[in-house]
Structures are given as structure tokens and as C-alpha cells.
Symmetry: C2
């Protein structure tokens, strides 16, 4: 028969079993952590009607969308999890209790130009809190705590959550009469570190025709750095510009004030006035998260507060705050950087049982007992040489091998070998289970990521 060469599309991540287990572990940690904060899991369809999904229309994303006809239907694959959430909340509004806290970990699709580290199918891991009409600032203060607990549980230490408030930026530029140019200006001052203040000043006074005083004021403002206390003091000193600016300062102070109680250490957190996160969508606190030793990656967890989740679907005012992790890209980068701990078990089983008798009944009973005790056990009954079976366990990283021959069965014991240490015990099944469990506990003590 003629064969079709098997291949996976470029831009689509397909992992081998060991890295897949690392990925699953990361997802498990995200699910657990998000759940601790009262977020409920959601799952929305990958396919939506194009008119619904693209209600907001246009923009950069539209070209990337996987859109197609099926029968009479004009369909599209979701390109993020936010639009489906907006649809969900508008559609099921009467069945939901607000504030509505949901997380979703799901695949999204963007037909980007294929290149190394860019994916067309990728997981996003999102959390959002949606209010009905209003939403307390407390939710904005809680988000960094969730990021902190999530990343810590993954094993990351050297990361920083950067926070800003869009009201401060909007108020500041409005006070200079520069609201219309704010977008362009922010994109320019974003390059401060890269091109230096002189160059920034030139662009501001040249390209954007700002007066030198305004340019200087902007550079001074954006140069405010230091620990959170210092930045807040500098902002305090600038109070009175306008109501929106002051409101932003109040909100930022509240967010910073509560962070300690939420357990976020000072070194994992910074107020950063350069963070804007796009222009229109966010209206309050905004977040970025950087790996301190890998700033080149950019933000690995971003989001912010918005005023109107579902304005394309409903008249209801639905403010919210949320963050998103680009999970597939993060996983790829962690792998590239050698940050995924190879010590953490990725084996499909904890124990490989090698029956040494014709009749498999005893081996089967033992496998069943192990499984009843939560131990992942695999029977290896294939026609292979003993050595091949051991190297199978080795290749998969299965930590324990159990041999069960006539002698052991008669004596009511099992021979259990720790493949890492070579240590072999002959104990009864109960004691063997105890030993294996202790060993597994020790092995599983690590984290997915090591720094």
C-alpha cells in the first residue's frame, strides 16, 4: 500500500510523552491555584459563528483568523478566550451569579506567519472576575497574589509582577492636553531604556510637536522608578492634576497596600509607570510579569481591569479584571531555556511488574493491589528478553521494577528494585507498597520549573 508521510502542521505543538507530562503538570497547578481563589472552570466551543466571534470586528487579528464555511454556516475558530467569555456572560447572564469568577485553559487559533517559537494553535490560561455594574478594587489587588502563587507553585522564583494604573496615565496625559496623542507618546516613551531620554525628547518635540516643557514633564514622569513606596510618594507629590489622575493614585495605593496581606513578597512586585497594555481596552490596574533572568521573553502573564466586557453583545455594564498566560509559548520558552526540571518524574508508571511465571494470576492480583493503593502500575508481559524489559523501564524513567517468580510467590513476597539506586528489597506486598509510596513522595517533591 502507498504510504502517506505522517507529519504535524508547522506552528502546532505536539509533544513527546515526557514533555507532555510536564505540560500536564503545569496545567494541573494552574487549575489548582486558580481554584483556590474561587474561580470556576469553563469550557466554551472552539468554533463559533463568525458574526458572533467577530462582532467587535476588524483589526490585526482578523487576517489571522481561521474562518470557513460549513454548509450555510460562516464559522471561525476562537482566537482568544476573552471574546468567548464575553459571549458566554452575555448569553447566560441570568444564570450566573456576579461577581462571576471563571478560569479557562484552552486552545486558541491564529494563522500567524510560522516561525520558531510562534504557534498557530496554542493554549491560553485565563482568569477573569466579572462584576455586574460595579466591581470592587479588591479584585484588582488580588490578581498579583494569584500570579504570585501560581508562579511560585510552578517553581519560579526570579519573576516580577509589574503593575500600573491606566487612570494615572490617562489623567496625566489629559492634564497636559495630550489625550489624543497619548497612544503615540506611550509607545515612544516605552523605548526610553533602549534609546535614552535625549532621543525620546527629540521624537516628542519633533514628530509629535510637543513643547519642550511637556516633553520634559513626560520624561520626568516616566523616569519615576524605585521601590513601590518611592514611586507612590512621587505620585502623591503630583496629586491634584485632575480627578482621574488622583483616582488612579488612590487605586494603585490600595492595590499596593493589600499585597502584603495577600502574601506577595516585595521583591516579586513593582510599580512601573511605563506599563500601558494597549490603549483602549484597559481602564484601571494593568499587569505584566517578567522573568528577571529572561527579560527578552517579554511578559509571560499580562492583563488588567476593563470597564465593559460584553458591550458588543449586551447593554449590561460588565466591568472586569483578568489575566492571561500564553501557556504554549511559555512552555516552549522554558524548554528552550533549560528551565524544565528533568529530575521531576515524567514516567507513565511508578512500577513495572515483570511476571516470571506462565500463569499471570499472581502478577495481576499484585498490579490490582498496587493500583488500589494509588500506585501507577504496568504489567510487562510481552515476549521480550529480561534485559529489554529493564531498558524499557529505564527509557521511560519508571522508578521501580517488581519481579514476581515462583520463589517470591511461594514466600509471599515481591522483589522490588529501585532502578536509580539499584537497591532491591524482598518484602511482602504491603511493605513494598509502603516503600514505593515513600520513594515516590520524595521523587515528586520538586517543581516543574527550576531556576
Amino acid at each position: 500500500m502507498a504510504k502517506q508521510t505522517p507529519r504535524t502542521l508547522s506552528g502546532f505543538m505536539e509533544l513527546l510523552p515526557a514533555p507532555q507530562r510536564q505540560m500536564e503538570r503545569i496545567m494541573e497547578i494552574l487549575r489548582e491555584t486558580y481554584s483556590l481563589y474561587g474561580f470556576t472552570p469553563l469550557d466554551t466551543p472552539v468554533i463559533e459563528s463568525s458574526e458572533v466571534l467577530l462582532a467587535k470586528g476588524g483589526g490585526e487579528t482578523e487576517k489571522q483568523i481561521y474562518r470557513f464555511q460549513k454548509g450555510d454556516a460562516d464559522l471561525s475558530l476562537r482566537f482568544d478566550l476573552t471574546v468567548p467569555l464575553a459571549k458566554y456572560v452575555a448569553l447566560h447572564y441570568n444564570d450566573l451569579a456576579f461577581p462571576f469568577r471563571r478560569f479557562q485553559i484552552g486552545k486558541v487559533y491564529r494563522g500567524e506567519r510560522a516561525q520558531r517559537g510562534r504557534f498557530r494553535e496554542f493554549y491560553q490560561a485565563d482568569i477573569d472576575v466579572i462584576g455586574d455594574g460595579k466591581l470592587s478594587i479588591l479584585n484588582e489587588a488580588e490578581i498579583p497574589a494569584i500570579i504570585y502563587r501560581t508562579f511560585s507553585a510552578l517553581g519560579l522564583k526570579r519573576f516580577r509582577i509589574r503593575v500600573n494604573n491606566r487612570k494615572i496615565l490617562n489623567g496625566f496625559y489629559a492634564s497636559l492636553g495630550l489625550s489624543g496623542k497619548a497612544g503615540d507618546i506611550m509607545r515612544t516613551v516605552d523605548k526610553l531604556e533602549k534609546i535614552g531620554p535625549e532621543k525620546v525628547r527629540d521624537i516628542l518635540t519633533g514628530d509629535f510637536a510637543l513643547c519642550p516643557e511637556h516633553a520634559q514633564e513626560i520624561i520626568d514622569f516616566i523616569s519615576i522608578t524605585g521601590d513601590s513606596g518611592a514611586v507612590l510618594s512621587a505620585l502623591e507629590a503630583r496629586r491634584g492634576r485632575n480627578e482621574i489622575f488622583d483616582q488612579g493614585v488612590d487605586e494603585l495605593k490600595t492595590v499596593v497596600q493589600y499585597l502584603g496581606g495577600f502574601g506577595v513578597p516585595a521583591e516579586n512586585f513593582a510599580v512601573d509607570l511605563t506599563i500601558a497594555r494597549g490603549l483602549d481596552y484597559y481602564t484601571g490596574t494593568v499587569y505584566e510579569t517578567v522573568l528577571l533572568d529572561h527579560p527578552e521573553i517579554g511578559s509571560v502573564c499580562s492583563g488588567g481591569r476593563y470597564d465593559n466586557l460584553a458591550e458588543y453583545y449586551t447593554d449590561k455594564q460588565l466591568p472586569g479584571v483578568g489575566i492571561s498566560i500564553g501557556l504554549t509559548r511559555l512552555f516552549y520558552v522554558l524548554g528552550e531555556q533549560g528551565m524544565l526540571d528533568p529530575e521531576l518524574p515524567t514516567a507513565p508508571a511508578d512500577v513495572l511488574i515483570l511476571p516470571m511465571t506462565e500463569d499471570l494470576s499472581e502478577a495481576i492480583a499484585l498490579a490490582t493491589e498496587l493500583r488500589d493503593n494509588g500506585i501507577r502500575a504496568q504489567l510487562h508481559c510481552e515476549e521480550k528478553k529480561f534485559k529489554q524489559k529493564i531498558s524499557y523501564a529505564d527509557k521511560l524513567g519508571i522508578p521501580y521494577v517488581i519481579f514476581l517468580g515462583e520463589d517470591e510467590i511461594r514466600a509471599g513476597v515481591v522483589a522490588c528494585k529501585d532502578l536509580a539506586t539499584g537497591e532491591q528489597t524482598k518484602l511482602d506486598p504491603k511493605a513494598t507498597i509502603y516503600r514505593i509510596k515513600a520513594g515516590l513522595d520524595a521523587r515528586n517533591r520538586g517543581t516543574v520549573i527550576r531556576e
Copy 2:
């Protein structure tokens, strides 16, 4: 602004939070149970190149496939998890260790005619064991054990795993010289219960032009019922028809023999000679699983042994055995039948904290302590009346509400109310955590499904 009416496509399941949590719990149980048997999780792309996905070509499925162009690429959404597995194993053959045991729980797509209970996007939950060249019969005996443990963990009791062996069927029909008509005959005798033996005989001798002796022999054969021992004895008595028949009997005997050791009770298992599971693909043991009180649903978990997983992609001989649960449909049916236990918690949080003070620091610290102890806690700081907050907890089924006012803070205690019993305690945080954990353990003791 003009609004787009939000809607979800018909044939696409989108659950509210409470049923979604039930669904998540089911998936968690599947993942855990499959893992106990040494299966490793896989995740393959939803989109594949059409030439790869449709290498086998044709058939009923092809019309249902979501197939579209994106740029120059001819793409299709996967319609099952078996073809992607075949591609995966062929593509990554050199990186895998055999036997390769994988599970995959993922969405698949079929553009079927939309009707109640039929889905166009649905989850399949598959496990497969793939051998390289050969695969021990032991794997075929283990599959019913996995089905049994999975369904038991979900809370099902009244189900039966029906097993047959295709070699027995093939051998039997070959011995009558009826291999060519075997497919048609099996589809007819399948209706035995419904239309009775007389009618079956008429069709066999009429439509298929069988001699009366052959027709009688077929009806006799297919009428063999009783417990596994009785059916096996009847098969023993028919030994010697041909090699393939005898081999099938041997295999079936082995499978039945080992089931006890695997912990499958006799009442959850039956040998059923009417089961064929399609015609070409399966070559050994085949499985169906029925809910005894809901036979109308048909099989909820099916599969079997096959000889050649990836023949369209590789010359390698890759025999395997696998089963698949149509999870979305099963979930839908369980819901329809009222079999999903409403008692099992579906709340997004275990505790709702209602701070009674302006300063939220103490409430935040308490929430953090609860979360550190694995308790899912939500702070409710919205501007709502006390009564509204309680009814929020009620609506979501959050079991505990904690009030934290000046008095409690001064006394170092928290007021914690069990909303189900109305019982309220004032204890220090540690004792409160202990009480909540005990209560949650009791609440979570149930299973997703109740019969």
C-alpha cells in the same frame, strides 16, 4: 451601539458552571484512573493536514469532516483520536518505547445533522496500548479492568462490560464458507432479540440465500447465552472448526480467566457472542459497555483489538487494543436521566469571606491562610447588602460563610457559618480551618454519578 445577539452554535455543548464542574470531575477521574494503568497523557493538534488526516480516505465520515483552506493549506479538524494517534506513533516511532500506552481526552468534530443529544463538537476519552510487531493478550484482558475501575470511580454500579472475540466470529463464518457474507449476516442476527429467530431465519435463507442448515447453525450459535462459564463451555464444544476459531476461543478464555484477578466482579462482565464492533478494523477481543437500566443508550464505552494501527503511514506492524468513551454524549445522557448527583459540591469556592470592616487587611490575611491550607476561599467585598451576599453564597452552593468584624478581629476568632445546617462557630483561624476541612471531606465523599 448595535448589539450582536450572543449565541452558541447548535451541536456545541456549552455548560453552565455547576454542570461544568461535574464534567471536570469526570475528566479528572478518567485521567487518574487511566494513569493507574500506566497510560501517559497525549495532546495532538485539533487541526491536521487533510492529506494526512484523510489518508485512509472515504466512507461515511468524510462528508462530516470540517475541512477548509487557509492560505495554500488544505486543513481538517480531527474527527476522532485514533487517526491522530496513528499519525503520532508513525511520526514519533523512534522516540517512543513499546508497548506504548497513551490516553487522550480531547475534542473531535463531526458535522452531523444537528439533533437533540447529537454533538458536532464532542469529547472523546481514549486509551490505547500499541505494540511494536506483537502485543500480549494480557493487554486485552486488562481493558475490562480499566473500564470497571473507571465506571466504578464515577459512581456507576449497574453496568456490564460485554466481550467477544472477532476471531471466533471470523472462524465460525469461515467454517461455513460464509466469510464474504459475514458482515451482512452479523447485522441481521444482531436483530435477533428484536425480531425473533423466525424472522432472522427468513432473512438468512431468503435475502442471503443460505441453506436451512447454515441458517439454523447460525441461530444456534448466536443464541448461546448465560454466564461466562456457560458460554465458554458451549464454545469449547464447538472447537475444531478451524484454527482461527480455536485461537479466538483460547483468547477469550484467557481474557475471562484473568478478569477476576483484575478485580472485575462477575456481574459487571459478560461474554456476548453478538458483539462485532464493525467489520474490518478489529481482529481480536472486542468490547461494549451498557448501562443495565438504560439499554436504549447503547454502548457507552467500546473498543477492541486491532492488528495494524498505522498502516496508512508506515510499514511497521503496530497492533493495539483500545477503548473510547464518547464523553460529551455520555455526560448529556447522564444529565437527561437525572443520574448526576446534585449533592456533590459544584461550588466555585469552599468559603465566602464577608469582611465587616473598612480596612480589609485582616480579611485578606485570613483568605491567604485558608488558601495556604488548600481551602478555596473567595473574598466578597462588593457594595452589596449583607442579605445579597448570603444569597450569592446560597446560589453558588458555597458551603461556608465567614464573617469578620471588629469584635472577631479583636478576639482573634472568626465567625463561620455552615449554610446547610445554619450552625455557626466562633473559633480561631486554625480551628476554623480544621472544621471546614472535615466538613468538606464529608461533602466530597460522594460520586459524580448516582444510581
